[in-house]
């Protein structure tokens, strides 16, 4: 079959559904594949059923899907990321189970195992880490800089729509056809049409292209937001550390997403139009792909981890009741990492034929990144030093990170040496290294952020006990799963292998599966924590909005914040503005006058583009050309029609702002301020008695 000779439904037919495989050939492999497909379908049915039963479709559409409020978009990003995280973790467990079943072929077929590590990587990077990072950024950044929304609220909704529709393609690939077997990096020529004529790589390509566009738009949005919408008086050196990391992350996106888009589109041209960018014949050159991909891929690692550094900076300062130590050096270190991240991409393929000199240059550049990272670690430790430390959940995640990330970073320095890399590349040592960087680095940071800012978003604190359980499960599970992989990696066990014959690997694999189970417990304790917290929310409400004696502007407003965030835009005089206000006694001011506030009006454009782009991707994957053409035209039309809409703003009258704000001020003045000793007790209603001696 060729792309030009296909039927009405392209190459889509009965055999594309996993149930067909089960009927023809019932075995464990097919049962696992069908269970996964069934879970997706079951999940959709349950969600649709619940929404219909509780008559939630209208509120869902009115309050969420059409909302352009950065806070709601942030929450939707995070919900999406957690759903995808659940799938990613379970895939990891299945892979560990396959290898723990001992030498031999296990219970999965090689193709299926390859699909698992491809979707696991693709999901965890593009559909867990990225949306989680930018979900948190969406919620927090405008609040931290004293803005009423992001620079481009409607564009923000479109970004979300594109990210979600691309993520849905990965879910669809479980039910219709199969996903790529080429890993998250999808190297050609293996993923080219000659070796892989099926739909798998096409699912990968379009999911990456569409989510990449969404992420690029997000990056532009946040760069502009922080450059242009800071409150009066907030100079760059008064910007909270977290916002600095988001600005660096946004710059990385603006420069690093294009290489990924170019690489994926050129791969698409090879596969669909018979071009020769990366083929083996007629002048194609796959090294161009490797260079393009990692020109994106390495900055990508830092655009994920820098925001986590920012989160830890806020958490360490708040829960040590101290000013962040070495702010200037942290800013310089963050910027240095952002710049250096573009100079090291070649270390991902030391063994692919460059000269020793080039390898040495990139190896040294890679080791240089350890310097600013080391500066950060020392700054955080100095922030903790002689602070009045509270071991709250975000802090525990932070401390776990400090220790584990040092190990992960040092194993990175080992790998940066090309001579060592020749020995351990493509082994589980590498897998252990990057999980060691990404779990404690990115995921723990995001979970810390989730625990830290949850009360801001929903007005009540998360359950401490289950939070601690999740910290211990994630930390312990991480150690049990990935420390053994360092050892088997050094023993020479290749990564991505569905079978092995050396029995000495087996005990390590047993430990790793136990760890994977503990990690699953960590995931479930996060969900239980949410459930318990919602159930007991009457005891943990913090309507005043400052449960942790916070230091930055987001804590100076009610929890949850009103749609317009700030009734009066603050005038910033200090880096830790809210702490400074509390010290001077100027927190919770009564303004002389209130103003009308203009907010962007709801729009459905993001949702429309989400649906249309989803169908467009599906049509392209399955060569249903007429449908793809219709969707292309519809997407262009939707955007053009949308630009004719003039009533984009909504005005909230000053009177309403005054009423809400004064009601909240009355609440502030009626509550008793609590000491840090009672931080986790029901007395903590969000009004902090600041610990000023150390705090300023």
């Amino acid at each position: 079959m060729t792309p030009t000779k296909t039927g009405f439904f392209g190459r889509l037919n009965w055999d594309a559904f996993p149930i067909a495989g089960l009927i023809q050939n019932p075995n464990t492999n097919e049962i696992v594949a069908n269970t996964a497909a069934a879970v997706v379908i079951f999940g959709v049915v349950v969600v649709v059923g619940l929404l219909s039963w509780f008559r939630l479709w209208t509120p869902l559409w009115r309050d969420w899907l059409t909302s352009v409020d950065h806070k709601k978009i942030g929450i939707m990003y995070i919900v999406f990321a957690i759903v995808m995280l659940a799938r990613g973790v379970l895939e990891g467990v299945v892979m560990r189970a396959q290898q723990a079943s001992g030498p031999g072929d296990g219970f999965l077929e090689a193709e299926h195992f390859a699909e698992l590590f491809s979707t696991h990587g693709t999901i965890m990077v593009f559909f867990v880490a990225v949306p989680f990072v930018f979900g948190v950024a969406n919620y927090i950044v405008p609040l931290m800089i004293g803005a009423r929304d992001v620079a481009f609220p409607r564009l923000n909704q479109i970004s979300l729509g594109l990210t979600v529709s691309a993520g849905m393609m990965l879910m669809v690939s479980l039910v219709v056809g199969e996903f790529s077997t080429g890993g998250w990096t999808a190297y050609p020529p293996y993923t080219g049409a000659a070796f892989n004529p099926g739909v798998g790589p096409d699912y990968w390509i379009w999911a990456i292209v569409v989510s990449g566009i969404g992420t690029s738009l997000t990056g532009i949005n946040f760069a502009v937001t922080i450059y242009k919408l800071r409150a009066p008086g907030m100079t760059f050196m008064r910007l909270p550390m977290y916002c600095w990391t988001i600005i660096c992350s946004s710059i990385l996106i603006v420069f690093a997403m294009p290489p990924l888009g170019v690489a994926a589109l050129m791969l698409a041209a090879d596969r669909y139009l018979d071009f020769h960018f990366f083929t083996n014949d007629l002048g194609g050159n796959m090294m161009n792909y490797a260079n393009l991909f990692w020109l994106f891929g390495h900055p990508e690692v830092y655009l994920l981890v820098l925001p986590a550094y920012g989160i830890y900076s806020e958490v360490f300062a708040t829960f040590s009741a101290k000013r962040l130590y070495g702010y200037n050096s942290l800013v310089i270190a963050t910027m240095s990492i952002a710049v250096l991240s573009f100079t090291v991409w070649l270390h991902h393929f030391f063994t692919m034929g460059q000269s020793a000199l080039i390898n040495a240059v990139f190896g040294i550049a890679t080791m240089l990144i350890a310097i600013p990272t080391g500066v950060k670690v020392y700054d955080w430790m100095a922030t903790l030093w002689r602070g009045r430390i509270r071991f709250s959940v975000p802090m525990l995640y932070g401390l776990s990170f400090l220790i584990l990330f040092a190990i992960g970073g040092l194993s990175g320095v080992i790998l940066a040496n090309p001579t060592v890399d020749y020995q351990v590349h493509n082994t589980l040592f590498l897998v252990a290294h990057f999980h060691n960087a990404l779990l404690p680095g990115v995921l723990f940071g995001l979970l810390a952020a989730y625990n830290y800012w949850f009360p801001k978003a929903f007005g009540f604190r998360l359950n401490e006990f289950w939070g601690r359980v999740s910290v211990f499960c994630w930390t312990g599970g991480f150690l049990l799963t990935f420390m053994p992989l360092y050892f088997v990696g050094l023993l020479g066990m290749p990564r991505r292998s569905f079978s092995y014959s050396d029995p000495s690997f087996h005990p390590f694999m047993i430990v790793a599966i136990i760890g994977a189970i503990v990690i699953t417990c960590g995931l479930f304790s996060v969900l239980i924590q949410l459930w318990v917290s919602i159930r007991d929310r009457a005891q943990t409400r913090v309507p005043v909005g400052d449960p942790w004696d916070g230091r930055t502007l987001e804590w100076s407003i009610p929890s949850p914040p009103p749609a317009y965030n700030f009734a009066i835009i603050p005038k910033v005089t200090d880096r830790d503005e809210f702490t400074a206000q509390k010290a001077k006694g100027t927190a919770y001011p009564t303004p002389d006058a209130y103003e009308d506030i203009e907010l962007p009006r709801n729009t459905g454009i993001g949702f429309v583009l989400c649906v249309l782009s989803g169908i467009w991707m599906f049509a392209l994957v399955w060569w249903i050309w007429w449908l793809a053409a219709i969707m292309t035209v519809l997407m262009i039309l939707a955007v053009i029609i949308w630009t004719f809409d003039d009533s984009t703003e909504l005005t909230i009258p000053a009177e309403e702002v005054r009423r809400d704000y004064e009601a909240w001020l009355a609440l502030v003045h009626s509550e008793a301020a609590v000491d840090r000793d009672f931080e986790t007790s029901p007395e903590n209603r969000g009004l902090a008695r600041p610990d000023l001696e150390v705090a300023t």
């Binding site: 420069f255 997403m257 290489p259 050129m266 041209a269 960018f277 007629l282 002048g283 194609g284």
Partner: protein
């Protein structure tokens, strides 16, 4: 609202005492610059790919057989002139000339943009007749990955000109429409910039080194 000739942002005429509109336009224009920077990275990478693949002709036709510099010269003149006409539309905006003047220059720009596209497509067809199709070699893939991508940008610009022309007629000179005119002008100059890169690197570079 009075429209005065001098303003904080070059080329924008939003009136003297209109701080919020100025602020909004500044934010959007800055955002568009950032977008263009990202787009520039796309083209930069495509140029890099082209340079690495100049020799990957795999026995197929190369630059000397395929490139028609006369046509490229004509396209260059057309596109550079269209940049001038967009500039004249911006001046009409800045000096508060009647709305019709902006629409007129937009119309001229559109005609020039479309003529450029016609010439470009004729070039591609002539190349295909000589066997210069993207399926033939890595070199040709790189050429057809880059030059039509620029053409697609020009086509997008043409569509934008049409839509914005309609909006100028229907909505009049609102702040939002003016800010879009500014961004379209930026985009159009950006297309010219890329084209300068294309004649230098793709055509001259190809003929020199290919």
């Amino acid at each position: 609202m009075k429209r005065a000739p001098t303003h904080s942002y070059p080329g924008i005429n939003l009136g003297e005492h209109h701080a919020s509109a100025h602020k909004a336009t500044e934010v959007v224009t800055f955002g568009f610059w950032v977008f263009l920077m990202s787009d520039l990275v796309y083209f930069g990478l495509m140029f890099a790919i082209y340079i690495t693949m100049i020799d990957a002709q795999a026995g197929g036709p190369g630059p000397h057989e395929l490139f028609d510099l006369k046509s490229v010269f004509a396209q260059t003149l057309i596109l550079l002139t269209s940049s001038l006409t967009v500039g004249l539309a911006m001046l009409a905006l800045k000096y508060n000339l009647p709305r019709g003047r902006i629409v007129l220059w937009f119309g001229v720009t559109l005609v020039l943009g479309l003529s450029f596209l016609v010439l470009e497509v004729r070039d591609f067809m002539a190349m295909a007749e000589k066997g210069g199709i993207p399926q033939r070699s890595g070199f040709l893939s790189a050429f057809f990955g880059l030059v039509p991508m620029h053409g697609l940008h020009v086509a997008t610009g043409c569509l934008w000109l049409i839509v914005l022309g309609i909006q100028l007629r229907v909505k009049g000179m609102t702040d939002v429409v003016i800010s879009r005119v500014v961004r379209l002008a930026l985009f159009w100059h950006f297309l010219d910039l890329i084209w300068i890169g294309i004649i230098t690197i793709v055509y001259f570079g190809g003929l020199t080194y290919g």
